[in-house]
Subunit: 199 residues, 2 copies
């Protein structure tokens, strides 16, 4: 039994979770390839030696960022669910995308989905991890839809799984369609159509 609290040697001068969170945000904004290690060092506020000593490699760091993103997202969605209910939580996913677009002119999308596209066929480990992380989120979406159906807030006759998949798929498309440069009026229209899936 060793004393797990005691560190020998020089103590870390930064908070590992803080640095990881900053990296996750940067990855989210710029994607994996477009993020260089030097970019990460700046935003994490650490030096290269600390980076590699703590996180081992860019890919290993990204892997942890994916996991952290899923954990944050799950936590946030559960909290939002408590406050606003199941159906409103699902609708919020579209609304917040449109809000982000209007406020910043930009739309980041979901880090997992973005990474799925980027890593597919190029970084197999990351690609498989994206699949695993997404399962957690998808399971929650199915639960939320099921709950909303039981409450009679959703009249769509399909199964919760079918509805969730179709809705999330449309949400994935929304990010792509926005970035393809489709004009704002059409995007507004489209976002309404997507939300109608949950009627």
């Amino acid at each position: 039994m060793r004393d797990i609290k005691t560190h020998r040697g020089r103590p870390k001068a930064f908070d590992e979770i803080e640095a990881l969170t900053a990296a996750m945000q940067y990855f989210w904004e710029h994607g994996y390839d477009a993020t260089s290690v030097d970019d990460l060092l700046k935003v994490m506020g650490i030096k290269k030696s600390s980076f590699y000593a703590t996180f081992k490699s860019k890919e290993a760091l990204f892997s942890r960022a994916l996991q952290l993103y899923r954990e944050y997202s799950l936590a946030f969605l559960r909290e939002y669910h408590k406050e606003h209910g199941a159906k409103q939580t699902m609708l919020m996913l579209v609304d917040s995308t449109i809000e982000e677009l209007e406020k910043s002119g930009n739309v980041r999308g979901c880090l997992l989905m973005n990474s799925g596209k980027e890593c597919y066929g190029r970084y197999e480990n990351l690609s498989r991890q994206v699949g695993r992380e997404f399962t957690y989120l998808f399971a929650l979406f199915v639960e939320l839809i099921a709950e909303a159906k039981e409450k009679g807030e959703i009249h769509n006759p399909k199964t919760p799984q079918e509805i969730a998949l179709f809705y999330i798929n449309a949400l994935n498309g929304l990010v792509v369609t926005i970035r393809a440069g489709v004009e704002k009026a059409l995007i507004e229209e489209l976002s309404q159509e997507i939300k109608e899936i949950l009627e």
Copy 2:
């Protein structure tokens, strides 16, 4: 009036359109950033000097590839329309994606949509071009839906533009959802749901 047929100097040893087409295919498969100039040289079968003399830069070449892709796509869709009709042409977009997935385990998606996502906020000229090229394709989709509606093949009460946007959006999502690693059974299910938009 100068003689346009006569070239002075050493003649080109390669076909410009063939080389451009090969580049387009490679970009389609790998994306813009993940394609290096050296990759392009190999697949185009030319040397660096010829590359820069003919196409000026990687970005300029990509711009031409985007245009070529749109031209090819329009021509192919119009041909398919003649042979199989409007509704079937739209349905084929989903079917061919699933076929590609089953045959190759891969799915390239639409070069324009992929590029929209990749270039958004990073390569402004390319980003704007994606928007312009997509308008051509989208106009055709709206025409096809309108025709199918007139023939009574589509009963969806929304306008052709709304249907086209919603359907294409779902198709964009399908590529993302596939690459996110969602299991095959769910993807089959999803593709059916997407095609039902056109009922």
